[in-house]
């Protein structure tokens, strides 16, 4: 009888803990150094001007109970936020890795959540019907502020435009919402969008699955340019100095002047590109599914080096002054010499390397299969 009572007690405990409401409650301070969205800025920057050593020390590992897309985590006020395809958002302490909160939802979260002004904004894709829910979450009160139902699935990355947010649905609807959850404008592009858009000086640039490059005015949603330049775009746009860089599904990397809509140069990498190009001050770095990484001159697209590392690169690398840090689907992440392409160090992972690495406070955050997040400290 005593044993049965114990079993019932444990059983009830499991049931109750399973029914517990998930929440994230944080008091976050304004953080000018934060990485509030995928690529840090609306134009997508994957460059950190630091010089790192090849000596990395694993300082913590935690689990987000799901799987990552080819996105990244975000960091705000020393807290890491990571979303997974099983519909959860976890937040961890940057220093210790301790979980600070979790939101459990039903659906899939593809887009990296946005964190700004005490708000967490994320989009939840419904599993069996073709709609998503845009959710504004108040971190201070641990409660939902708004929830908007959107037709279509949001499978790419959102943009913070000042205090507003912009997102694209898979079926080609682009919308801009205010902090109060009001729709500012909407535009129907009537084509499938899987590409990560970028924003630079009021111009949103995105590619669609027809191989068209599309430029939209971020102020009013007006279409500025729509031009077919390649094959389907499943990758992402990175903008630097009025030049948008994007790779297509056949492996051609384009540099496009977004003022005129003209292709400045193009380079054929020979295999599918799914990542955003990463830039430093002079060069552009792009990898493909063949496992090759390319370093090209930003101005003329001239090849600096190309090396096949044998894996699969589909998430965007992080660039530092001396190294490229890139996740490999073949269960590792690599430290590569930026100037020569020489592989400096390979770190084995327990699963497929997924997240774009981020660097913050001398730590590199890596994410791989089954929602495992690791923080490595750079040892000098």
């Amino acid at each position: 009888m005593k044993n049965i009572s114990r079993i019932i007690f444990i059983f009830l405990l499991v049931i109750i803990s399973g029914c517990e409401k998930s929440f994230i409650q944080l008091i976050v301070q304004q953080d000018p150094n934060a990485i509030p969205m995928f690529g840090k800025t609306p134009s997508r920057e994957f460059y950190v001007p630091v010089t790192i050593s090849d000596s990395l020390k694993l300082i913590w590992e935690n689990e987000a109970h799901g799987s990552f897309t080819n996105s990244s985590a975000v960091i705000y006020d020393s807290t890491i936020f990571a979303s997974v395809l099983s519909g959860r958002i976890h937040c961890f302490d940057l220093q210790t890795g301790k979980q600070k909160g979790v939101l459990k939802t039903k659906g899939a979260i593809y887009s990296t959540p946005l964190v700004f002004r005490n708000k967490l904004v994320y989009v939840l894709c419904n599993n069996n019907d073709d709609f998503s829910e845009l959710i504004y979450y108040d971190l201070y009160n641990a409660d939902e502020l708004f929830e908007m139902r959107i037709i279509g699935k949001v499978l790419n990355q959102m943009i913070i435009d000042g205090i507003d947010i912009i997102f694209f649905t898979e079926n080609g609807i682009v919308k801009k919402y205010s902090p109060a959850g009001g729709e500012i404008w909407a535009q129907n592009l009537s084509s499938k969008i899987y590409c990560n858009p970028a924003l630079f000086e009021n111009k949103i640039v995105v590619g669609n699955d027809k191989g068209e490059i599309i430029i939209i005015n971020s102020t009013n949603g007006d279409l500025i340019l729509r031009k077919k330049i390649g094959k389907a775009f499943y990758s992402g746009v990175t903008i630097c100095k009025n030049i948008a860089y994007i790779g297509d599904d056949t492996g051609i990397l384009y540099a496009i002047n977004i003022g005129e809509g003209k292709i400045i140069w193009q380079y054929n990498t020979g295999s599918r590109i799914l990542m955003n190009p990463a830039l430093d001050d002079e060069n552009i770095f792009i990898g493909n599914l063949k496992g090759e990484l390319f370093s090209l001159n930003q101005i003329d697209g001239k090849l600096n080096w190309r090396i096949n590392y044998g894996g699969i690169f589909n998430s965007t690398p992080l660039i530092t002054n001396n190294r490229i840090i890139i996740s490999d689907l073949y269960k590792s992440f690599l430290l590569i010499d930026k100037d020569s392409g020489e592989l400096k160090k390979k770190f084995e992972l327990g699963g497929r390397g997924k997240l774009t690495p981020i660097f913050f406070d001398n730590k590199i955050i890596i994410g791989f299969d089954d929602g495992i997040i690791r923080a490595y400290e750079v040892i000098y």
Binding site: L85, S86, N127, K231, D249, S271, G311, I312, Y330, R352
Partner: protein, 937 residues
């Protein structure tokens, strides 16, 4: 049927791992004719298992596999992180011996991917292109299952879902090969003959070759209309919906109905214009057969009558037939069966799609057939209808397409050796000598003697230079050993045949998309350099053979069947279709791609690595025994040769009984050699209910060991023996009435089975078993009896679907405490209560007429259509009896029933009839109705 319920656990134990038995104690044998000395090549992503002399072929396959790995990781944006086991066999004959799958592998299976352990098993058939294609095809399965698993797991969805089979196989074909003449032939035929099934109705052709090709065609259509990238997107989006049709609709933004319309229109637009300059085979040629799959016709004039001999599958087994052409070259009768294969070891199986036959001027019919470990070439005298000579060489595993020289003293044929190389050989019937003409990795096939008997003409993929790897026609000079191109085209040319007047060389070519008949003129100067088109059929023609200089006979594909056709040659061919050949592009030879550096591969010795096959836990509850729980674990090595099964469960109904109710068994079975053997140790204890002993209920603890040995004499016959030593301690009334024994049981049996199965049971061939056994209590002398079983079943085929089945069985136990047999119920003596007739001696006979009732039943429901196939009927008569010491009465029944095959897993049976009662003198009043499941006897 045997009254050994006490040993049920042991029987289940053996049954779970006995590969050869299809059902119960019958079943054909999967024979390991030789022990393979397995070796391993380790590459970056694969463990390649090979044996014997096929190291070179294995290395070539390893390169193909690595190339495909790198292709698929890009196409599917996915990577398989484990090392994939690829198991290569040098021919399909050896492949059919694999223990990786317990079932029999039918002729024509090109390879398979085994989902349980992710093993890929592939034979080489001598063609590197086919080898490459199958490796690629199976690796698509590996990547696709990995991708689907990852997508579902990433979204925390259940990972047991898979796309429908048409997509699985269509994707494998789409990613592994280019559209070829075979795919074109099948799709043209489907569209032009109204045999096309869209996505909505594709379940109608589930598992068929047409389904593979429709799947491939659909994906080609998606690529053309919606973009190449949408194919991989279908996999990425797989998690989104439960129904794969919904995934398609979401990804392509259209409905299935609209897609079907668009796809069908696309194909019709492509194929309907062909009618303007091409003809169906039965318009331009005379169709000689109207049923089955008919191949390789060859003319023979016997007693001034023209006969066509050919190989065909018209009854479910491949055989040689003869067709009387009559005086006007019109078939006058149905084909006559000459030689039936697949019933004896001498004629185990024809390679229907790969081989051809020939007849010498003296009336000797040569044909290749599988016979035991290798193929043989038999020579059948058409005068006596007897096989008068047989050629076999241990080094040649596969033999195909023998063709006679003009004087009949030699044959030339294609053979695949231990290395997996397909080459040309001649065999002198008089001197009994074999000569190898070619020896390389090129696929040399379809050889014939040329107009000059010093010349062999054959088809080969040895074409080099501009048209590298294309099958062209070559000649081999027997004096100089020189090989020359006779054709040099960017097409695939096969089946050369020289006209009786030696003025024409006929062959098939896929120059216009499918295989049509073309020719080269032969003059004093040699072979013409212009291909002339002979036929302009919509679908493919195969194996053209001359009747005379102006008439040919061939096998053609139309309406998803292969028939024989007779065609008059036109005096003047259409010169606008002529193709002038330019031989200037020939350059050197081609070599298969190899690894860039030796460091990319590592050769290691094979060592057995055991891994889990399955682990199951079971908890069951019933009113008699209460709740029981247990587990079973099975392990085997990577090649499936050696298996271990561990079983543990407890039958205690109260806590105090736990310790004395453990049941444990460990068994090992080994299939690596011709002799299969196994042994087990066991401890079974708990409450038992024995139906054979007047419904006794008792506690028993038995422990002991058992061995099993099976020696296959051929695919159809085997000797079996079992020895069991068991200590039994039985409490019939607890603490009062007990029986102890140390039982030694042994039996030896001869088993035969060459039956052919229809939807509900055997319809052709025979099955029989003779068993002698002896059981003795060697310690207490409580038990001592012998057993004899004679079970004979014969199936008389009436036509393709109807058969008369006969069973005569006698079961006999005699001695102290001999076990009782039992019968009654749907499986044996129908109409009588199940297992109600019991005795130490028993006989039963049955006569059953099996016939088709409904071939296909379609039920259209508002949401989904349901289709049921192979509903069969039976009219039966049973008689039998069982007794202990004195014969008492004879039981019987007669009636009719219906059998319903449920997904080839289960047959539901419903019988109505009358019992014959009162010692076989009266019918029962009214009728009996009996519903159960199980296959026909």
């Amino acid at each position: 049927m045997k009254s050994k319920l006490k040993y049920t656990l042991l029987l289940i134990f053996f049954a779970a791992s006995t590969t050869c038995a299809q059902f119960y104690y019958f079943g054909r044998n999967k024979i390991q004719y030789q022990k393979f000395d397995w070796k391993i090549i380790r590459t970056e992503h694969f463990n390649i298992y090979y044996y014997g002399e096929m190291g070179e072929m294995a290395e070539i396959g390893a390169v193909y596999a690595e190339d495909m790995f790198n292709e698929l990781k890009i196409k599917m944006n996915s990577v398989v992180t484990r090392r994939v086991p690829l198991i290569f066999y040098n021919t399909s004959n050896h492949f059919q011996q694999t223990n990786i799958t317990p079932g029999f592998i039918p002729e024509g299976v090109g390879g398979f991917f085994e989902f349980l352990k992710g093993r890929v098993v592939i034979p080489s058939n001598g063609s590197l292109q086919d080898f490459r294609h199958v490796i690629r095809h199976e690796l698509v399965h590996v990547f696709m299952t990995n991708k689907i698993y990852r997508v579902l797991r990433d979204h925390r969805e259940s990972t047991d879902a898979m796309p429908p089979l048409w997509f699985v196989e269509g994707l494998a074909e789409y990613y592994s090969t280019e559209p070829d003449a075979q795919a074109e032939m099948v799709m043209r035929d489907a569209i032009l003959n109204n045999n096309f099934f869209g996505l909505k109705n594709i379940w109608n052709i589930y598992g068929s070759f047409l389904m593979y090709k429709e799947g491939q065609s659909f994906l080609e259509f998606v690529e053309e209309k919606y973009g190449y990238e949408k194919i991989s997107l279908l996999l990425e989006n797989f998690w989104m919906y439960k129904s794969f049709n919904d995934v398609i609709e979401h990804t392509l933004e259209t409905t299935i109905a609209e897609l079907d319309n668009e796809w069908e229109y696309h194909l019709k637009k492509k194929y309907f214009p062909l009618y303007s300059n091409r003809v169906p085979q039965n318009i331009f040629a005379k169709q000689l057969t109207n049923f089955g799959f008919n191949f390789s016709p060859v003319l023979f004039n016997q007693d001034d009558k023209n006969f066509i001999y050919f190989i065909a599958n018209r009854t479910g087994v491949s055989s040689i037939y003869r067709l009387d052409l009559g005086e006007n070259l019109k078939s006058v009768n149905d084909p006559e069966l000459i030689l039936k294969a697949e019933q004896t070891q001498e004629l185990e199986a024809f390679h229907l799609f790969q081989s051809a036959i020939d007849i010498s001027k003296d009336g000797l019919l040569a044909f290749g057939v599988k016979s035991g470990a290798t193929d043989v070439i038999h020579f059948l005298s058409l005068k006596t209808n007897q096989i008068v000579k047989t050629f076999q060489d241990d080094h040649l595993i596969f033999l195909s397409s023998p063709k006679f020289s003009s004087n009949g003293s030699k044959i030339v044929f294609q053979g695949v050796d231990q290395k997996g190389f397909s080459d040309i050989y001649t065999y002198n019937l008089i001197s009994d000598s074999l000569t190898r003409l070619t020896n390389d990795y090129y696929d040399d096939r379809d050889p014939v003697f040329g107009p000059n008997q010093d010349e062999i003409i054959f088809s080969s993929d040895r074409s080099a230079g501009k048209y590298e790897k294309k099958y062209n026609i070559f000649s081999y000079n027997l004096n100089s050993n020189e090989i020359k191109y006779l054709t040099y085209t960017n097409f695939n040319n096969y089946n050369p045949a020289v006209s009786p007047g030696k003025k024409q060389l006929m062959f098939t070519s896929d120059a216009d998309g499918v295989r049509n008949i073309w020719k080269l003129d032969i003059t004093n100067l040699g072979y013409s350099k212009t291909l002339q088109k002979v036929s302009r059929f919509l679908t493919s023609a195969f194996d053209p053979r001359f009747i005379d200089d102006s008439t040919i006979v061939f096998s053609g594909f139309e309406k998803f069947a292969f028939h024989l056709y007779l065609m008059k040659l036109e005096n003047k061919s259409d010169s606008s279709a002529d193709i002038a050949m330019d031989f200037s592009g020939i350059e050197g030879i081609w070599k298969p791609k190899s690894f860039d550096s030796a460091g990319e591969i590592k050769k290691v010795e094979y060592e057995k690595e055991y891994s889990l096959d399955f682990a199951t836990g079971v908890v069951s509850t019933d009113p008699v025994f209460g709740t029981r729980g247990g587990a079973q674990i099975a392990l085997s090595d990577i090649l499936g040769d050696d298996r271990y099964i561990f079983m543990l469960y407890n039958t205690a109904t109260v806590q105090s009984d736990i310790l004395r109710s453990f049941n444990i068994a460990i068994q090992r079975m080994n299939f690596s050699k011709k002799v299969n053997y196994g042994y087990a140790v066991f401890n079974f204890s708990g409450n038992r209910y024995d139906i054979t002993e007047s419904d006794e209920f008792f506690y028993e603890r038995s422990f002991g060991a058992s061995t099993f040995l099976s020696y296959p004499l051929s695919k159809f016959n085997r000797l079996e023996t079992t020895i069991t030593l068991m200590n039994s301690d039985r409490e019939i009334v607890e603490g009062i009435n007990s029986r102890k024994s140390l039982l030694l049981s042994n039996s030896v049996a001869y088993v035969h089975d060459n039956s052919l199965w229809g939807p509900s049971g055997p319809i052709d061939g025979s099955r029989w078993l003779f068993l002698l056994g002896y059981s003795s209590d060697i310690k207490y002398s409580n038990i001592n009896y012998f057993s004899a079983i004679a079970d004979y079943r014969n199936y008389f085929r009436i036509n393709y679907t109807m058969a008369l089945a006969l069973r005569m069985s006698l079961y006999y136990n005699e001695g102290k405490e001999s076990r009782r047999y039992f019968m009654g119920g749907s499986w044996d003596l129908r109409g009588w209560p199940r297992w109600s007739i019991r005795g130490e001696k028993m006989w039963i006979t049955s006569l059953e007429f099996r016939f088709p009732l409904v071939d296909q039943l379609l039920i259209k429901l508002p949401i989904v259509d349901l289709g049921f196939f192979g509903i069969r009927g039976a009219a039966f008569f049973d008689a039998g009896s069982a007794w202990d010491n004195e014969y008492k009465t004879t039981y019987g029944s007669l009636g009719a029933g219906i059998r319903f095959n449920l997904f080839n897993v289960l047959v539901l049976r419903y019988d109505i009839g009358k019992r014959i009662v009162n010692n076989f003198s009266d019918f029962q009043t009214g009728l009996f109705y009996q519903f159960f499941f199980g296959w026909d006897f």
